[in-house]
Symmetry: C2
Subunit: 203 residues, 2 copies
């Protein structure tokens, strides 16, 4: 069977990516970074989600020789001109401190009225092959930043984000409900046929 590497160290993200992708690619073995020899992962230094997804995917291919999916995602808040954006994971300064990031975001938006609290999650996915072929795409989940943290599912900013048409936060949705509308679900469903086609060709 063909193999593909998901180039992320974030355990919660890996879990979400895997649960969406594995059923879409029944003929392909999906590996995580723990399944391959350690290598130096690049800093997420690009100004765009797709740029960072490509960085991660390219580094994974270079280090392992496997086809690889890299991703980058974040929350883009209208009242912050699209930030935290690519800085979502380290918005409060400390890397991946969800509690601090959410506390800071709500404090920054304290005086922003309801009609200006629009936001969207973006997920960019890059798919790179040892042949040098590269594809990148992204998808969004629109919604609103609410005024408190609610819910125990998900991770990151899910607890402060109500998807469009929902009164619940992304952290209050079931896994199936979230994956059906999420930025990550949409991006992976878009990239899966490209992966299947490329790896099918290679078999």
């Amino acid at each position: 069977m063909s193999r593909i590497l998901l180039a992320t160290r974030n355990a919660k993200k890996l879990e979400e990516l895997s649960r969406i992708l594995v059923p879409l690619l029944p003929e392909i073995v999906v590996l995580g970074l723990d399944d391959v020899a350690a290598y130096d992962e690049p800093a997420e230094s690009e100004p765009t989600f797709e740029g960072n997804a490509l960085l991660k995917s390219r580094a994974a291919v270079r280090a392992t020789g496997l086809p690889a999916l890299g991703d980058d995602s974040g929350l883009c808040v209208d009242a912050l001109n699209g930030m935290p954006g690519v800085l979502s994971a380290r918005w409060s300064g400390s890397d991946k401190d969800d509690a601090e990031n959410n506390r800071l975001l709500l404090a920054q938006l304290r005086d922003v009225p309801d009609e200006r609290r629009g936001a969207h999650f973006t997920c960019a996915v890059a798919f790179c092959l040892p042949t040098g072929e590269e594809q990148a795409l992204s998808a969004e989940m629109p919604g609103t930043v609410i005024r408190e943290q609610r819910g125990t599912g998900g991770f990151g900013y899910d607890v402060v984000f109500a998807p469009r048409g929902e009164t619940r936060t992304a952290a209050e949705l079931s896994i199936a409900e979230k994956d059906a509308i999420s930025h990550r679900g949409k991006a992976l469903r878009a990239v899966a046929p490209l992966v299947a086609a490329a790896l099918g060709r290679g078999r």
Copy 2:
């Protein structure tokens, strides 16, 4: 003599505004909010600097019957899509905590390379009269966010900002040097003739 009210409670900002404006308006008495009866000041809830400057200036005119200058200013960082912007004073969540705001900004920009650390200060000034006449304008000081805090002058983000062409931060410039190039100096020099003309008419 005609009088004009500077509608700010920020002591450091009032000092800077006064020292620039007073010599430009020798015929006019410049008052601060401590010189007039207290009134409810509006929250800075607008999405633009000029919008907030107008809010403050209008509220001051309404409460006191005096011609008033309102201002709003902030630091717009390219790598943050122009934020902290109108949220500059409360970027870290606590109002006007310069040390926390600077610490957070430097942490957010930790991985942003030198060539993408461009930024500018903006100062918007609104001048409103009891007659209902209103004017608003803004000015900028371009430069770069450095990687540490330096200097003891100024306030706000001056300690992390090197004006274009300077190796020193805005907090390391003399008062005269800063006022000559600053967003606030430029905006006040632009509004002063409008004030002089309007109040001259009224005498």
